[in-house]
């Protein structure tokens, strides 16, 4: 029966997206990734992603640019309203700070 709880939480987040800040306050949601070097996409990530996410949702992820771009388009599927230019800038920034492990 313990399985129900995490699954129920998953269900709760339908309108929220896979990586929600439910349970997190605005301050936590606005947290930035550690070791951020800056870049044109940084401000967009902080502003756009923090609408719904805590940074801890994605700081564990390391992947190449194509995968980051795919992740961002999946967020479009979850209701994020971003332009292709914004997505490209965010993908650049995220690849810079969270690219594949070397």
């Amino acid at each position: 029966m313990l399985l129900f709880r995490p699954l129920a939480l998953s269900a709760c987040l339908f309108l929220v997206g896979i990586a929600s800040t439910e349970g997190a306050g605005p301050q936590q949601a606005a947290a930035t990734a550690p070791d951020s070097p800056g870049g044109p996409g940084r401000e967009i990530v902080q502003r756009k992603c923090a609408q719904c996410h805590a940074a801890t949702m994605w700081t564990a992820l390391r992947q190449d640019r194509r995968a980051w771009e795919s992740t961002l388009y999946r967020m479009v599927g979850r209701g994020a309203l971003w332009t292709p230019e914004e997505i490209s800038a965010m993908a650049d920034y995220l690849t810079q700070i969270r690219g594949p492990a070397k």
């Binding site: 995490p6 699954l7 709760c12 309108l15 949601a29 771009e69 388009y73 209701g79 292709p84």
Partner: protein, 633 residues
């Protein structure tokens, strides 16, 4: 016609539906309207004498009395699982074909089927379980009915103080009703055999009096076989028909707030769907150029292609909407606004109007400036009239300006949602979940009903719902998983002329597939799509987030709680076991071909299941996930 009148009087159908169904049965439109007026007059006449057939004396055993009262309460379907103690009830059904028994092989999906039927038809139904042991299986769906405010009646006999029991015997549970009392509007037991009909009536009356919710009734298994004389009373004779209008003072206050607001927002919810108040809500939104959104709900209660629709609230707070920003007034019509965060959905600083029939929850979490406790159809009607009184040319000009702004945003948002197909993995195999949804949406009928229990899958990028005759949504708000397949079967039973599509995650599917057998047996042509990533993907990602994006699991790539592979589970093979044909699809071309076969099956009254391989995403997954070994030592 008697049945239609009963349904109308109990708000089971709208006035428009009443006329439409009468016309469909061969009555002229004029005659149908005349009948409607007569019924109105009858319903509003205090002390109108009860028609002879509305109250009758019945003599027989408890099982027969139960069946008679269910029929009088408007029930057509009993969703049950076999119990020897209910033998007299089964006997009673043999010569009462108007009361049909749907045998469900597990009480959970069986109750979900009943709930799906109730939600889709607006008609009453009963879930019948085998004493305490069967009831336990149905409790998950009782929980869902409680959370979703579904007026579903549950029955299970009890044995603890029957003549043969009282000594902790077979299936005995002391205080059986205690397990249901926290998630029902009413838990009630018949104290004597002749009270069975009264107890049944009470359950349907309470469940169907707004705000709706489940009821549980019980009596000693002995009673079903005992003979007695008792009244059987038709539902319309006991239904309080409680549709309340809001306090006029609060309506005036709300109208003034709405007219004065510069950045208002309208949230709609399930009470709009239940009251069929779509047209009035659209009218109010258009009158004031209100941007419209929705929080987590069972149904979509506003046409999503409408230029005032700005998308669902993505992050649990109004502030997470891209538009409008700096909202100064929120009006909620019929939404439960499920609180899932310490921060309220509507900020304390924002003016708030709350219109619902659920008076107990108004003001429980949100500070409220104008509480409108009402049937939302009446409430919106009154609000429309009050707002119209306040509109001046200057206010209308301001509203027109706002309309242009909202329309421009809405059009832009639709374009941006469509960008989902630019995902560089759009054509990949295993498939992106969004690609699956997109293909299903392309294939679906324009008025398809979508039953959605697919984990974290979001569908609004490809499906635009419109409860006014377009596509409809039945979402798993209650979140006791395993409801989707049963719900879809119940919806298909209630809406035989509609295409029913059931979207399932692999995890949720495994909690409740048994209603597939009901689909096969009853020829309910549901198309079931399973998004199969062989994992509990949502819990995987959120567990990592809860650990701050780090931890031993992710360092070692060892996750004990979320991988469902090795062996992979073949959902189409499971379906075949229940008599439902199906197949697996691994790429877009295979999915399209499978959907074509599903359509052909549906045309022949047959359900179909497509088990689609979708990609796992999130940190820490490897191509070959680690599986914990379990020592048997």
């Amino acid at each position: 016609m008697k049945e239609l009148v009963a349904q109308l009087l109990s708000n089971g159908i709208s006035r428009r539906d009443f006329v439409r169904r009468l016309v469909a049965s061969g009555v002229t439109v004029t005659a149908a309207k005349s009948i409607l007026e007569s019924v109105d007059t009858f319903a509003q006449t205090p002390g109108a004498p009860a028609p002879a057939e509305a109250v009758k004396m019945f003599q027989g055993n408890g099982g027969e009395a139960f069946a008679e009262q269910l029929i009088a309460s408007g029930v057509k379907y009993v969703f049950g699982n076999s119990a020897s103690e209910d033998a007299e009830f089964y006997e009673a059904l043999v010569n009462r074909p108007q009361l049909q028994y749907v045998l469900t092989p597990h009480e959970g999906p069986g109750a979900a089927m009943a709930a799906g039927y109730v939600k889709a038809s607006g008609q009453p139904a009963v879930v019948m379980t085998a004493g305490s042991v069967g009831l336990m299986n149905a409790l998950g769906q009782m929980f869902n009915a409680w959370k979703e405010q579904t007026p579903l009646v549950f029955y299970a006999y009890r044995t603890e103080d029957s003549r043969a029991a009282g000594r902790d015997g077979f299936e005995e549970l002391p205080g059986q009703e205690q397990v249901t009392s926290t998630m029902t509007k009413l838990t009630w037991g018949a104290r004597r055999p002749e009270m069975i009909p009264e107890t049944v009536r009470r359950a349907f009356k309470v469940a169907w009096t707004p705000p709706y919710g489940p009821a549980y009734i019980t009596w000693n298994s002995d009673y079903t076989g005992e003979k007695f004389q008792s009244e059987i009373i038709r539902h319309d004779q006991v239904d309080p028909r409680m549709r309340v209008r809001p306090n006029p003072t609060e309506v005036e206050r709300a109208a003034k707030l709405l007219v004065d607001a510069r950045r208002p927002l309208l949230i709609v919810g399930d009470e709009v769907y239940r009251a069929k108040a779509f047209d009035k809500v659209v009218q109010l939104a258009e009158l004031l150029a209100l941007p419209v959104t929705q929080a987590r709900s069972v149904h979509v209660s506003f046409p999503q292609q409408h230029p005032l629709w700005v998308g669902s609230i993505p992050g649990g707070r109004v502030e997470s909407l891209t538009y409008p920003t700096d909202v100064d007034l929120v009006i909620n019509i019929g939404g439960k606004l499920q609180p899932n965060s310490p921060a309220p959905l509507v900020s304390r600083k924002t003016m708030f109007i709350d219109m619902r029939n659920d008076s107990a929850s108004v003001g429980s979490v949100m500070r409220t400036d104008a509480p409108l406790v009402a049937d939302v159809a009446y409430g919106t009607e009154d609000l429309l009239a009050a707002v119209n009184q306040l509109l001046t040319p200057a206010i209308k000009a301001r509203i027109a300006q706002r309309a242009d702004e909202v329309h421009a945003f809405s059009a832009k948002a639709r374009q941006l949602r469509a960008l989902v197909s630019r995902n560089p993995l759009w054509d990949a195999s295993p498939m992106e979940a969004d690609r699956v949804t997109y293909e299903v949406a392309q294939w679906a009928d324009k008025d398809a009903i979508v039953v959605h229990e697919a984990g974290s899958v979001e569908v609004s990028h490809s499906f635009e719902f419109d409860p006014r005759g377009g596509r409809e949504l039945f979402f798993y708000y209650g979140a006791h998983l395993g409801s989707g397949v049963g719900t879809a079967a119940g919806v298909a039973l209630a809406r035989p002329r509609k295409q029913v599509i059931c979207l399932m995650g692999d995890g949720s599917f495994l909690f409740g597939p048994t209603a597939l057998w009901n689909m096969a047996r009853l020829q309910l042509p549901v198309t079931v799509i399973v998004y199969n990533n062989h994992a509990y993907g949502g819990p995987h990602n959120r567990a990592i987030s809860n650990l701050g994006g780090t931890g031993r699991s992710i360092d070692a790539s060892k996750f004990v709680h979320d991988y469902l592979g090795k062996p992979d589970i073949d959902m189409s093979a499971i379906a075949k076991g229940f008599g439902v044909d199906g197949e697996r699809a691994k790429n877009p071309a295979e999915l399209k071909a499978a959907l074509s076969r599903a359509r052909r099956n549906a045309a022949n009254g047959k359900p179909y299941l497509i088990d689609v391989e979708v990609a796992r995403h999130g940190p820490g997954w490897s191509e070959d996930p680690w599986v914990p070994t379990v020592s048997r030592a």
